[in-house]
Amino acid sequence: MESLVREVDSSCKNDAIARTTAYLCGLGLPADHAAEQAIALFEQCDSPDDALGVDTVVAALTRVTSEYDAWLTYLSRNGDGTAVCRPGLLAWPLGAVLARDPDSFLRRGHDSELVRLAIQAAAQPAVPEEMPAPMPAQSLGGSLAVFRRNLWHSLAEWFVGVQVWLSGGRQER
């Protein structure tokens, strides 16, 4: 497998394959599997073999991301279509799963135990379901308290006013 990686790196003149390989590694696949997948995907793209075409890179990456996202969506739903978890939350634990079980990449049906555990881990949402309830602001005392608070506020304002007066009005209140 390592020789395959070297073959990809050494013979790769097309940046698209290298980038696709790196992207698949970023999804969690080991380097050798990522290289295999990248070459297979690249061959499916309609482009010259040695052209360093930006469009080729975009096409390959778009294909990878769309297939991957579709796979995430598939895994995140039950057979009847109800959501088990958010696809985005599933991606992170799946990354570790793919490192151990790369053959499960994009596989539908007959999910491995590791994939099922990843789905179970992702099923816990980022936040639980809300149960709205009010927390009203309280009043800290009656009119007397308000009066006293205003008194303190007035004293503070007086201090500020003195400072402004002493500074010849240059300072702002």
Partner: protein, 697 residues
């Protein structure tokens, strides 16, 4: 539910004793002050003396209560009036939320603490009863990205409590608003809520015991577990840790004894009963401009007051351990924190005199405000004393008074100082004696000889630092009275050593004041100058002293020599070991990581995670032309070429991020992309061993 008008007998005893002590000292002072007849300057001196002596007496008698208790009991007191938890280890616990509000904190440290707590709860066997919430108000986009990354890393660790993450798009009401948002959205799901700070650490056993005590006494609204200061190495922090550990025990015990069920809440390391908290503790917006009006800054005291006023108990469980936090690492950070707290406590003064507040809460708020007001009062007292002392000395020299007048003028200036010093030193003596009384405790401070040396060192440094703190607090109080607002920035949690220029800038005024006072004292009697020397030395040498105190190297050397040790260092609790291990793992994982924003837009898994965490209703805050401009800059120049606020806007824009993600994979150097994806935190998932490093890394 009991009525709120409880008999505050403990408080009455405390105030009575402090009053008697103050009255006796004041009588002596009157005799000295007016020995030569009435004088105008004597009256303000007398009033200041009485206030300050009362303030010190409160602390003295609190510590004395605690010391007396320690002579008779091995354990610290639990709040009398609160039923002890039933010894039913297997009874299920009701649902409890553990919430950690964070604002621009070090995410690795905060999440490491939560993961440690999570593991400890798991080990205690009650993981199913606790849900942990990270309540982020972070505005810094880079820290936001790292928070999500650290959360995802820990979330997929081995089984434990559920760990949730929520970031508010607007941090209305700061920390109290953050908690209110949690209560309004999820509070009804939980019977109890444990509030933590970013540096808080609590063991699973303590958390379970807290819930059991709340279950066993349905009248308790808040149960506060005093935290122990740990995990710091700088000289200053070690002094704080040592004094807190040695003297804090007698203070905490004493406080529990007189406060009983009318205790206080310190905003973290405490459990709250959610339903009454939501019903009675919603904070109002005060009328008028800040700092007196607006948001309530120090919300904890006010929430405790509201809980007490509604008839619930607020207790301090001094007998519970397993509760930890960290302290500021240097004098400047300590002062910055005190600047915020002083404003928050002074804001309580009008509330404390308002109607409907429990009398004990008024006392708590008054004490809190006085802890900062005392400094300008001390400064004024010293100034008036010096003026009087020097004035008499000059008058004696010119009018040929007898030496008896000089003795009286010096005695007037020094008697209150000696008296106050005596009470303060006695508190230290109580702490030392309590440690020696419980023999194993002295060993845990490094042994009897090292304990004594540590006390002498701590006392010496405290004498030098006290006038600097007095100067700081005086400035803070004056600024607050003048209406100057202070920004509530997050407390620095690390051990950053201030530079010389920063230290000089902060302490230059203290040096000038010290030199001016020394010059003034040359006009007075020599004895007065000698007695004032510790105050003068602290102020004049504040710059080198502050630099010395911030030294981590010196702190570690002292620790190596067995000085300033605390029990948690001689016998390290398991949870502190776990926390250090967890933190080291999290830090290693991102040691070579590129910029967080670069990782976000490049890493396909991280991006998907971030997009999943964005609220469904995340607003598109940028107009398309502005978005496109930022996208192009970010793409061509990288994150450093756009400002923080621009990165923040991009991070909230799904379309912009998806576009950036596609474009960086097309245009950025391959090596950078590989580094970005390799920087993702590795994690054990469900017992799987860590995957090998990919060849691309």
């Amino acid at each position: 539910m009991a009525k709120w008008r409880r008999k505050a007998t403990g408080l009455a005893v405390l105030v009575g004793l402090a009053g008697v002590t103050t009255a006796a000292a004041t009588a002596v002072f009157i005799h000295l002050l007016f020995a030569d007849g009435w004088n105008l300057i004597g009256f303000p001196l007398l009033i200041l003396f009485a206030i300050l002596y009362f303030w010190i007496s409160i602390g003295f008698w609190t510590a004395t209560f605690g010391f007396a208790w320690s002579l008779m009991h091995r354990e610290s007191p639990s709040a009398s009036g609160v039923k002890p938890a039933q010894a039913d280890a297997d009874a299920p616990l009701p649902p409890t939320a553990i919430v950690m509000p964070i604002y621009n904190e070090d995410p690795r440290r905060a999440l490491a603490n939560l993961q440690t707590i999570r593991s400890s709860i798991q080990a205690a066997g009650f993981a199913a009863a606790f849900d942990i919430f990270v309540l982020s108000d972070t505005r810094d986009p880079d820290i936001w990205a790292e928070e999500e990354c650290a959360w995802a890393r820990i979330r997929t660790e081995a089984e434990g409590c559920r760990l949730f993450y929520r970031r508010r798009s607007q941090n209305l009401g700061r920390k109290s608003g953050n908690i209110q948002d949690f209560c309004e959205r999820w509070g009804a799901r939980y019977r109890y809520m444990v509030v933590l700070d970013a540096d808080s650490l609590m063991t699973g056993e303590t958390l379970v015991e807290m819930v059991r005590r709340m279950e066993n006494d349905l009248e308790v609204g808040i149960l506060q577990v005093p935290p122990v200061l740990v995990n710091r190495d700088s000289f200053f922090a070690r002094l704080l840790q040592f004094s807190s550990a040695l003297y804090g025990n007698v203070f905490r015990s004493g406080f529990t004894l007189w406060a009983r069920t009318e205790g206080n809440y310190w905003g973290h390391n405490a459990i709250l009963r959610v339903e009454p908290f939501m019903k009675h503790c919603g904070l109002p917006h005060l009328p008028g401009p800040p700092p007196w009006g607006g948001e309530i800054l120090s919300h904890d005291f006010v929430e405790a007051a509201m809980m007490l006023s509604a008839g619930w108990k607020v207790v301090v469980a001094a007998d519970l351990g397993g509760s930890y936090e960290e302290c500021p690492a240097n004098l400047i950070d300590f002062a910055k924190r005190d600047e915020r707290w002083s404003m928050g406590n002074l804001q309580h003064v009008p509330l404390a005199v308002g109607a409907g507040i429990h009398p004990v809460s008024r006392f708590h708020m008054g004490l809190g405000a006085l802890s900062y007001l005392a400094s300008p009062l001390w400064a004024l007292f010293l100034l008036l004393s010096l003026v009087q002392g020097i004035g008499w000395h000059i008058a004696r020299q010119s009018a040929g008074w007898s030496t008896g007048h000089e003795r009286i003028s010096t005695a007037v200036a020094l008697t209150p100082l000696v008296g106050a010093l005596g009470l303060l030193l006695l508190v230290k003596v109580w702490g030392v004696l309590a440690a020696f009384w419980q023999r194993s405790m002295a060993t845990r401070f490094g042994g009897p000889a090292r304990l004594i040396l540590s006390v002498l060192l701590e006392t010496l440094v405290s004498c030098l630092v006290a006038p600097i703190l007095m100067a700081f607090h005086t400035t803070f109080v004056i600024n607050t009275l003048l209406g100057r607002k202070v920004e509530w920035e997050p407390q620095p949690r690390g051990e950053k050593v201030p530079t010389f220029s920063e230290t000089f800038r902060v302490h230059a005024a203290h040096t000038i004041v010290g030199l001016a006072a020394a010059l003034l004292l040359t006009w007075g009697p020599p004895r007065l100058f000698l007695w004032m020397l510790p105050i003068l030395l602290g102020l004049i040498f504040s710059v080198p002293l502050s630099m010395l105190l911030s030294s981590v190297q010196l702190g570690r050397r002292l620790r190596g020599a067995g000085l300033l040790l605390i029990p948690e260092e001689t016998t390290c609790p398991r949870i502190l070991h776990s926390q250090r291990h967890c933190l080291a793992e999290l830090r290693n994982d991102v040691a070579a990581a590129p910029h967080p924003f670069a990782r976000l837009v490049a890493d396909p898994l991280f991006l998907r995670l971030h997009l999943a965490l964005l609220p469904d209703s995340a607003p598109q805050t940028m107009l398309p032309p502005a978005r496109e401009r930022l996208q192009r800059i970010a793409l061509s120049g990288g994150p450093a070429h756009i400002t923080r606020s621009e990165r923040l806007l991009l991070m909230q824009d799904r379309d912009a991020l998806r576009w950036l993600h596609q474009e960086v994979w097309r245009d950025w150097p391959l090596e950078l992309l590989r580094k970005a994806t390799a920087a993702r935190l590795r994690g054990d998932i469900l017992g799987i061993e860590r995957p090998e490093k990919e060849a691309a890394t």
